[in-house]
Assembly symmetry: C2
Homo-oligomer: 194 residues x 2
């Protein structure tokens, strides 16, 4: 029932075809970083044309500029030499389907997987719940373009982010695979004059 | 000078070959999530055999079980139905090369990229620095196997993580592409009896 045997079988095939990738250097060869969503439909290596060794890829629920994403972006530039950041959210994101109150309420009822239909979320879980979700910000999204703008702005304004790194904001269209620039974010992500 | 034109050209090629992927459902088809490092040499889709639509992929500096990674893992199971978690760190990780004090000190001198040699880190940056790095945990790694164990333990013990999700701990070998299980983590990541 576990996917583990399949994952390990796929890994054995990858090892067989690994070639000379063992000699790749630690710093990203093409010197950029992508912050994007964990969504299963997104493959940043494919949608942005990355080979192993090219670029840092940071992913979380929503592709949000969380403190942890900024930790990763700062390490990427300061210690590993990346020079450009891409923020890539996407259409039909799961983060549009709930709010902090909704997920906190669902987690209070049970930790088991909930279901959604036209009437909203339903929880039929039998397992225990927890009120710990009330103490977190879940970084949900109400307006996709605004979320990209806010994330680009947050990175731009962060005291640990160098002012000469351009930050680009895109929305990936899950229906077509296309990266669509968010114009408002282009302005917000410009390099600051020193 | 910017990589952006290359990224957008690669994206146009991806759009041309996109096929019927626009009909993929939002929840991951193979119902699992991978937490792994942002390192450029790692391609989780390749090393674990993922196609678009298969699995959530969460990535940060080190592949650490940060609060934000746990936010993403909880959303993955509670709202999108994943049933197994993989934590995958790797050999030769950049997070082994510094400490909180080192990166905080470097950021205080300047936000520009530092260099490393046998004598340690050197900062020749001319731009402004910031002491804001002193207020963050950078989640560096001293012992790779122990870091995987700690991350698996942290996820296992988190009040918002369902007790019936198995959590597996692996180290990806950047020299060979091979996933090597961390035995200590296998015990820590077992499903808890209800």
């Amino acid at each position: 029932m576990s996917v583990r045997p399949e994952v390990l079988a796929a890994n054995r095939r990858y090892v067989c075809e690994f070639g000379d990738k063992g000699s790749l250097a630690l710093p990203p060869g093409r010197r950029f970083a992508i912050l994007t969503c964990m969504d299963a439909r997104l493959d940043p290596a494919k949608y942005a044309g990355l080979s192993e060794g090219d670029a840092h890829v940071i992913r979380n629920a929503g592709g949000r500029a969380s403190d942890d994403a900024i930790r990763s972006l700062v390490i990427s530039h300061k210690l590993l030499g990346t020079l450009e950041y891409f923020v890539v959210h996407h259409s039909d994101c799961g983060m549009l389907l709930f709010t902090d109150d909704i997920i906190s309420g669902l987690l209070e009822k049970s930790l088991d997987t909930a279901t959604i239909d036209a009437q909203g979320w339903h929880d039929v879980g039998q397992g225990p719940g927890s009120s710990a979700g009330r103490y977190l910000r879940w970084l949900t999204i109400a307006d996709p373009r605004k979320a990209v703008l806010e994330d680009v702005q947050r990175i731009r304004e962060h005291p640990l982010v160098a002012r000469d790194i351009p930050i680009y904001g895109y929305i990936y269209d899950v229906k077509t695979g296309r990266l669509v620039e968010v114009e408002e974010a282009a302005q917000a992500g410009r390099v600051l004059l020193q």
